[in-house]
């Protein structure tokens, strides 16, 4: 047992860190530091920089353009990326549909889609959630009926993140409504967003942003060749996909970057005659949060190290800890930022490209309340924290 990084791992970390320092465009870094949203172009630019280096999808098998990094290297890469802070590679492509395609798709699908995902030639979005379903994903209602070499799709998806930028959507659709269990009779379909009958309605989120959408399918014709794997087996692929999603969901790198930012801002911001960071109550809240974050980092490393000994299609149920604690800590960092900004949390300045006016209050204060509001979602999505505790109780504790 040696919990320190090896020299090789440290060298790898330094290489990754240097690459991000030298290649991440400054304008993107600044947006992330201020908690602002990046644009479609920002994401495409960044993905192509990573792809040119061979790092757009490092966890993919080498034959599909991935790397041979072990779980610890994958972890280091990801955390350095978040701490830079750089945008995460768009997960809908590289972390969700990509692995489903290379694991369950046919050769033609692999050849066509995988390189385009890595290079962000296609922007993907996810069509799983439906208005009536929520955490009970399998109760979805969107129908796909086979007619000759096409499916005709009707229904509605919701919470489609960044769907407004998307070229393609991967969907769970019901192909057999008479299956004995709701998890059966679901298929995994790839749909071109430009298909006639696809319409998108933006959902304005409580932070004032436009990040998620509703998507309506009205007699949409989808070529049968866009079915992934077997018909009616889609639930298996979805479970595989959601298992992958849980990896790295702790987002330790983001929280570390925020903790550093809190310390920086609180050193500059005065509370009374002295910097806020010297206020005992504030500094001790920060220290207490750092303890939880450090503990979670160690827990994450344990799960990562354990992954070396695990079959990759069996996600560790302990990763539910990462989701629960990770989301709680992310939320706590936004609360502490709210404490830092104090009364200047109040003004609301909508993000607009090309705005010339100076903001109300300090520039760094603009996005703090919206980030706090918006971060409430992290304990809801990707399997709510209540669902995660059910998983721990059942899968780990046997209750």
């Amino acid at each position: 047992m040696d919990l320190r990084f090896t020299e090789k791992e440290i060298a790898f970390r330094d290489e990754v860190r240097a690459f991000f320092r030298e290649n991440l465009p400054e304008s993107i870094r600044t947006k992330l530091t201020l908690g602002k949203h990046f644009s479609r172009d920002d994401m495409v630019t960044w993905m192509r920089i990573l792809n040119a280096k061979g790092w757009a999808a490092p966890h993919w098998p080498v034959e599909y353009g991935g790397t041979d990094w072990d779980p610890v290297q994958q972890y280091i890469f990801r955390e350095e990326l978040l701490a830079a802070p750089a945008p995460e590679p768009l997960s809908f492509g590289v972390s969700m549909v990509g692995p489903v395609i290379y694991t369950f798709g046919n050769q033609k699908q692999k050849d066509y889609f995988l390189p385009r995902i890595r290079n962000m030639d296609d922007w993907w979005c996810q069509g799983f959630s439906e208005p009536g379903a929520g955490s009970d994903l399998a109760s979805l209602k969107t129908r796909a009926v086979r007619e000759g070499d096409h499916y005709i799709v009707n229904g509605q998806k919701t919470w489609t993140t960044l769907g407004q930028h998307a070229d393609w959507i991967f969907c769970l659709v019901r192909t057999n409504p008479d299956a004995p269990k709701k998890q059966m009779g679901i298929s995994f379909l790839l749909i071109d967003m430009k298909s006639p009958g696809v319409t998108l309605r933006p959902i304005q989120t409580l932070d004032g942003g436009h990040e998620v959408n509703e998507i309506f399918f009205d007699d949409v014709k989808v070529p049968a060749e866009n079915l992934v794997g077997e018909e009616n087996k889609g639930w298996d692929y979805a479970k595989f996909l959601l298992g992958n999603e849980r990896t790295g969901i702790a987002r330790i790198g983001i929280s570390k970057e925020r903790v550093r930012r809190i310390r920086r801002l609180a050193s500059a911001e005065k509370a009374g005659e002295r910097p806020l960071i010297e206020n005992p109550r504030f500094r001790e809240k920060l220290a207490a949060l750092e303890v939880e974050l450090k503990a979670l980092e160690m827990t994450q490393l344990r799960v990562v190290a354990e992954a070396r000994n695990r079959p990759s299609d069996k996600p560790d149920p302990a990763s539910s800890i990462l989701k629960i604690k990770g989301s709680q800590i992310q939320q706590a960092t936004t609360e502490l930022l709210l404490d830092v900004v104090g009364p200047y949390a109040l003004p609301f300045t909508p993000e607009e490209e090309g705005r010339n006016e100076p903001p109300i209050g300090p520039e760094w204060a603009q996005m703090i309340a919206p980030n706090y509001f918006n971060t409430r979602k992290v304990s809801i999505y990707g399997g709510s924290n209540e669902i995660q505790k059910n998983i721990i109780a059942k899968a780990i504790l046997g209750l």
């Binding site: 009536g132 109760s139 109550r281 504030f282």
Partner: protein, 382 residues
């Protein structure tokens, strides 16, 4: 000891709730908030007609002679409906200053104007560097013969963009963080040298940055005693906090009811989510937090009249701490129990959550008042 409303108070409660029920549903509130002025002058007139704008003023000043309990009743109803009209700014803050420190002439003129509803007032006090310290005032008021010349910047002027008249705090002597040396002045919002930049607030209301560039006012614009405004400001902010506590109770009660209702109708895994014990207990915990807040809002309303300044300060600090903790707990859980829908602007609970969050921050946050209460030796007493 008596927690019951008297007949008049019950009538007040009924009529405010009836008005808001009929004319201030969630859609209407969204439209009002999205409008250019960010509030509705017709509703404001209705408040005036009902006497709400005259409520806390003495009958001698042409008011209704209401006390903190009456304000509590109105603010709780406003909280439920997420009212964005400038009641806090014009009636509680500016009105409070005038009521407590205005000369008979000032009271005769301005309280009537506030109560009538045609003229809007705002309190320009908070400055960027002050954070939560009420005595931190850098804006200067220089005496110049029979006039004062005011210069400085006020950052968070609630409802300041639509106000016709501003009550401005400025330093007439002493150093930036002295309690002594602060004075209050009445300034026309369109006076030369006053410039404003209005903005929306996170919770759907309005604020303004106001800059005073050598604004010249006559000596008669001074409210109260020169250099001795601080106790007045502190007292009025205490009244505003008591009012905010009541508003918070309304906001939370509405969020809690909406959550419980949602749990009864939202189906997942083949049953309504209200049947899951973990969610039931979360709703029970929210209820406890709400009732504890309600208790402290009552306590604040009772104690804001207390003449012993130290006892009053303890009570207000303790109330703000409880309200802040409850706002955070109830708000976060309301969002969590609603799930995805609560992070969209289309559900009222998102707006309520934002208002609850901002109430936590207004006039000093939970940390600020926890420290202050500790400095004051707690609230249980000997």
């Amino acid at each position: 000891m008596d927690f019951d409303l008297n007949d008049e108070q019950r009538m007040l409660k009924d009529s405010v709730e009836k008005l808001l029920g009929a004319r201030y549903d969630f859609d209407k509130r969204r439209r009002i908030s999205d409008s250019p002025e960010g509030f509705d002058r017709e509703i404001w007139s209705a408040f005036a007609e009902m006497g709400l704008l005259a409520l806390p003023f003495s009958e001698d000043d042409g008011g209704m002679g209401g006390g903190p309990v009456e304000t509590m009743i109105v603010m709780e109803a406003f909280g439920r409906a997420l009212v964005v009209e400038p009641y806090l700014a014009s009636v509680i803050l500016a009105g409070g200053i005038l009521r407590r420190a205005g000369s008979p002439e000032q009271r005769a003129e301005h309280i009537a104007a506030i109560a009538g509803g045609e003229t809007l007032y705002a309190f320009a006090h908070h400055e960027r560097q002050a954070r939560y310290d009420l005595h931190d005032v850098a804006t200067m008021a220089r005496a110049d013969g029979e006039h004062y010349v005011i210069s400085g910047e006020k950052g968070l002027v609630l409802s300041g963009d639509s106000a016709d008249r501003l009550i401005v705090s400025a330093r007439s002597s002493g150093n930036q963080r002295d309690e002594a040396g602060i004075s209050l002045f009445l300034v026309d919002a369109k006076a030369e040298g006053v410039s404003r930049r209005g903005y929306a607030t996170q919770d759907g209301a309005r604020g303004a940055e106001v800059t005073f560039d050598n604004v010249r006012v006559p000596a008669s614009a001074l409210i109260g005693t020169r250099d001795e405004a601080f106790p007045v400001i502190a007292r009025v902010i205490e009244e505003a906090i008591a009012a905010l506590c009541a508003e918070a109770v309304g906001v939370m009660a509405d969020m809690h009811e909406a959550t419980v209702e949602y749990m009864k109708v939202r189906n997942q895994f083949g049953t309504h989510i209200g049947s899951f014990q973990v969610l039931q207990h979360a709703a029970a915990d929210m209820f406890i937090a709400l009732e504890q807040a309600r208790s402290m809002a009552m306590f604040a309303s009772m104690m804001v009249q207390e003449e012993d300044a130290r006892e009053r300060a303890r009570a207000i600090a303790a109330s703000k701490v409880q309200i802040g903790n409850s706002c955070r707990f109830v708000g976060q859980n309301a969002v969590q129990l609603h799930g995805g829908v609560a992070v969209t602007m289309e559900y009222k609970v998102a707006h309520s959550f934002k208002r609850a969050t901002m109430i936590e921050k207004l006039f000093g946050d939970t940390d600020h008042y926890t420290t202050r209460l500790a400095d004051l030796g707690g609230v249980i007493g000997e």
